[in-house]
């Protein structure tokens, strides 16, 4: 038992300070992921070398792809005198050798605490001619001691939106799609849905064809995918913005509205039936199109699968952990399937989470849920010990609990370090939800097969 120390939550020493087995990580990795969804962009970590190395390793382990990012390589000197010299030298080297279109600088706990002002340093870089003609620099403060990796993603997304979109007099017949933290497969699926609806859209960020790039026999520093600069510029003239995922996209959507007067509709990431309904409706409304029959048919296939298999979901208890934008709609969907989310945890702080969860789970007496610093895997495990569940859904770190408690475990979220598939098969939209449903069923039914008594072992299920 790897987690033999965990007791029932009610029997555990009350913690005031400590975080055990966190259900989150720090801001910069989110900034790095978001920046990789922009074409020709090199993420740059303004801090010690280790930060950059850890974030690249984390992303590489999850996506099984090379992840390129540079670092200011702080030394003791920089921590005393500030990191300006490092960043300026870094920019000279980066543009000379790696030739990116954009350098996306994010800060770290170190550079934030010593008081480096990224805005001022980046302005100086431009003034000193460190940024070649036609090349760009964007920056986002991402102190690791505030929020979580999701906050870092949101901050970098906002930085892009503040930098590139320009409002001209010419309104474009297109919408902006700001995506929360989802997989490259999901980004690809969002674009497929837009095409089906005949809606021209700019998806930001877009990690498809970046972190699910094909094998070509060549190493490409900047893969073919990613939102391009002209696309981002054009976002200022779009009809509207649909922002999917409150935590990751809201700030960017507001910034774009303030800057270019492009109104936005906030939706959830379209995971599950209702969330996809709301998303499709928002897109249809903002793009002023009607929902095509082909989309309705996909929805129908999903509903068909749900009704066919409802008996296997009903009353099953489930523990969910991960990032709020993903697990809010997921929780909603699992309730709609008849499942009971008894433990829901997110390390990402923010009042919106509890507000949404109160609305979803307030009427379910068994449900326990929390977000923020002490909402960690240790807490969730304690809850599971008190009220055992039939399924755990979350990132790879749940495998210890699943093994110790012998509970079926579905990998979902970030990071997934020990399986593939997430970057290839989506979980958004009706078809993505159907994929998710299939995976949930596989887990539940494999368990039935494994544990069924001989006389009850069934061929047809």
């Amino acid at each position: 038992m790897l987690l033999r120390h965990t007791q029932k939550a009610s029997e555990t020493i009350e913690r005031k300070a400590l975080t055990v087995n966190p259900a989150k990580t720090c801001q910069p990795v989110g900034a790095m992921y978001a920046a990789l969804g922009v074409h020709g962009c090199l993420p740059h970590s303004h801090g010690s070398q280790g930060c950059c190395s850890y974030h690249r390793s984390a992303l590489t382990r999850h996506y099984k792809e090379p992840v390129m990012a540079s670092t200011s390589s702080f030394t003791e000197g920089s921590s005393v005198f500030g990191g300006q010299a490092n960043l300026l030298q870094a920019l000279t080297n980066i543009y000379a050798i790696y030739e990116p279109e954009i350098v996306a600088v994010h800060s770290t706990c170190l550079s934030e605490t010593i008081g480096d002002d990224l805005g001022q340093i980046c302005s100086k870089a431009v003034a000193d001619g460190k940024v070649p003609e036609g090349k760009h620099i964007v920056y986002a403060p991402t102190p690791s001691y505030v929020g979580s990796h999701v906050t870092g993603y949101a901050n970098m997304l906002k930085a892009f939106v503040e930098k590139f979109p320009i409002k001209t007099d010419e309104k474009k017949r297109q919408i902006n799609l700001l995506s929360g933290w989802v997989e490259p497969s999901d980004m690809r699926e969002l674009k497929r849905i837009m095409a089906m609806m005949d809606v021209k859209s700019v998806l930001l960020p877009d990690t498809s064809d970046v972190l699910d790039a094909p094998m070509t026999g060549e190493f490409q520093m900047y893969p073919n995918g990613g939102t391009t600069i002209p696309e981002m510029v054009s976002m200022g003239d779009s009809m509207a913005t649909v922002a999917a995922g409150w935590f990751a996209t809201r700030d960017a959507a507001i910034a774009l509205e303030n800057q270019c007067k492009v109104k936005f509709t906030q939706t959830d990431i379209p995971v599950g039936l209702k969330a996809t309904d709301r998303f499709i409706q928002a897109v249809a409304k903002e793009a002023r199109v009607s929902v095509p029959e082909s989309i309705n048919v996909e929805r129908g296939r999903l509903v068909d699968a749900l009704t066919d298999m409802q008996q296997y979901f009903y009353g099953k208890k489930v523990a969910i952990y991960g990032d709020p934008d993903n697990i809010i709609p997921l929780t909603e969907f699992l309730i709609d399937l008849g499942m009971i989310p008894t433990a829901v945890v997110s390390g990402t702080p923010g009042k919106e989470f509890m507000k949404r969860m109160d609305a979803l789970l307030g009427d379910i007496p068994e449900a326990r849920y929390l977000n923020g610093a002490q909402a960690d895997m240790f807490l969730m495990h304690g809850w599971i010990k008190e009220n055992p569940v039939d399924l755990i859904i979350g990132n790879t770190y749940g495998k210890y609990i699943a093994r110790d408690e012998n509970i079926p475990f579905l990998r979902y979220g970030f990071p997934i370090l020990d399986r593939i598939g997430h970057s290839y098969f989506p979980t958004v939209g009706y078809m993505g939800t159907l994929n998710l449903v299939t995976k949930i069923l596989d887990k539940l039914m494999d368990k039935i097969d494994e544990t069924a008594l001989e006389e009850k072992f069934e061929l047809v299920m």
């Binding site: 987690l3 120390h5 020493i13 005031k16 300070a17 400590l18 975080t19 055990v20 087995n21 966190p22 989150k24 990580t25 720090c26 990795v29 740059h44 010690s48 070398q49 280790g50 930060c51 950059c52 190395s53 850890y54 390793s57 590489t60 099984k64 792809e65 090379p66 992840v67 390129m68 540079s70 670092t71 200011s72 390589s73 702080f74 030394t75 003791e76 921590s79 030298q89 870094a90 080297n93 980066i94 050798i97 790696y98 770290t108 706990c109 170190l110 605490t113 102190p143 690791s144 001691y145 505030v146 979580s148 790039a213 094998m215 070509t216 026999g217 060549e218 190493f219 520093m221 610093a373």
Partner: protein, 465 residues
């Protein structure tokens, strides 16, 4: 190809005559996509395998999240070291100081887990906000009656290598705290093996067969109580010179425990590691037993390797690992199975190691310090390498280029040390070089000259069975 101007002296080609003079041990150039990590990373990976100690990371959440159970160091007992404990510093503590939170966290943890000792790692920010970690550790140590050791591993304070040194200094405080212990004759400590995939267990088995007593293993499958009495051993056998050399030197100065440098990779180096210990103890009996052991092991290993050697003849490998000392063993081990090293580099090698590499490698081999993906991919293409040996960040690059890959870092799945490990290594190199999947990659098609044997590894008889 383009190499950053500042890096020109960190790349060289092996040639006879003139010394290499590689400009290593340098801080990375700002802006480089370096494969290196930081001081904290160095300390954390070194101390992490001490299984019955508490490891608390004092800083924002990231540093703990990224080092949660990432190293495949196995334990024969406690699994506590695999949990992730952090003070998860937030804005409030960054402004007002994190000492209170650290104190509370330590008390909560020690009350719950009753560990033998605790290590408290300082991250970048702790160095800047000025928390007196030492004072907190002293206080908790007094209140709880266990050693609470500060590890001053602020990330910016040097390279990963400096982190090893910091870890050694923390260990040094633990060594010598048990003076009661009496050790049998021929007692050694094994330093610098981290028991990846259970390698340490194989090594200790060899030494035990020779009649050598293993006292402390630092840090693989490590135990606090063993480390306390480590100074009582007659000899420190140090592997992976980068990580644990400093502790060996400290113990030499303080307790007059001599040390020797060894490597457990490949036949020659592994055998030397056994013979050298026997020589040290000037014991004919140990030496004879070592000879017998080596003879036995080689008796099964050499015939087993022959098939791989034949199949792999003419293949070229690129090596990029943490320390150059390991790279030296790898070059030798590869040669043993017919593979030529075309590129070899490390994150933190030192001058002497690079000179050894130069002597060892064939003329024309590219030798590089603190490289990056761009350079590495260029070198691989330029030399037409078939196999890459590296760690997590190199793996996807190798695969994208259509090369076989062997993880010789934390994520190795098979023990690669010792005699058994040599056979595993050969199998792994063979399996990845011969996998039929490369037929679908463009890179492979370009190499019409190399005829690939596609016998799956399982169909080869294994003489050990």
């Amino acid at each position: 190809m383009d190499i950053l101007k500042e890096r020109k002296n960190q790349v060289a080609t092996a040639a006879s005559g003139s010394p290499l003079n590689l400009d290593c041990g340098k801080k990375s150039t700002a802006g480089a996509v370096s494969q290196r990590a930081c001081v904290f990373c160095g300390s954390r990976v070194v101390l992490y395998p001490i299984t019955d100690a508490l490891h608390l990371i004092h800083g924002p959440v990231g540093c703990a999240a990224y080092t949660w159970d990432i190293r495949g160091s196995l334990s024969s007992g406690s699994e506590m070291y695999r949990l992730s404990f952090t003070t998860d510093l937030s804005e409030n503590e960054v402004v007002f100081g994190g000492e209170k939170k650290l104190y509370k966290s330590l008390i909560e943890l020690i009350d719950k887990h009753q560990p033998k000792a605790a290590f408290v790692y300082s991250t970048c920010i702790v160095g800047v906000i000025g928390d007196d970690v030492e004072a907190v550790c002293r206080r908790v140590s007094k209140e709880k009656g266990i050693d609470v050791l500060p590890v001053q591993s602020e990330g910016f304070n040097g390279t990963k290598k400096d982190g090893y040194k910091v870890a050694c200094e923390a260990l040094d405080k633990l060594v010598g705290t048990d003076n009661e212990a009496q050790l049998p004759d021929y007692s050694i400590n094994i330093l610098g093996d981290f028991n990846l995939a259970g390698e340490l267990w194989m090594l200790t088995e060899y030494y035990k067969k020779m009649g050598v007593n293993i006292n402390a293993t630092i840090t693989g499958d490590g135990r606090v109580d063993d480390i306390r009495k480590a100074h009582k051993a007659s000899l420190n056998v140090v592997q992976c010179s980068g990580a644990m050399m400093h502790l060996a030197k400290l113990m030499k100065d303080k307790y007059d425990v001599p040390f020797m440098k060894v490597s457990y990779f490949g036949i020659e180096d592994m055998s030397d590691a056994l013979y050298d210990v026997a020589h040290f103890f000037k014991s004919e009996e140990l030496f004879k037993k070592a000879q017998l052991l080596v003879k036995e092991e080689l008796g099964t290993l050499i015939p087993a390797l022959a098939k791989y050697r034949e199949a792999l003849q003419g293949k070229k490998a690129a090596i990029y690992v943490g320390g150059a000392f390991k790279a030296i063993s790898l070059v030798k081990a590869l040669r043993l199975i017919g593979v030529q090293t075309a590129v070899v580099g490390s994150q933190t090698g030192n001058k002497e190691d690079y000179e050894v590499l130069k002597e060892l490698c064939d003329e024309g081999t590219i030798i590089v310090d603190d490289s990056n993906p761009n350079e590495l991919s260029q070198f691989v293409i330029q030399t037409n390498s078939d196999i890459f040996i590296g760690g997590v960040k190199e793996r996807p690059i190798a695969y994208k280029l259509g090369l076989g890959f062997c993880d010789h870092n934390h994520e190795r799945k098979e023990a690669l040390a010792g005699y058994e490990g040599m056979l595993n290594f050969a199998k792994e190199i063979y399996a990845t070089a011969m996998s039929p999947v490369w037929q679908f990659t463009r890179h492979h098609k370009m190499r019409s000259s190399v005829a690939l044997d596609q016998t799956p590894v399982d169909s080869l008889p294994n003489s050990k069975e």
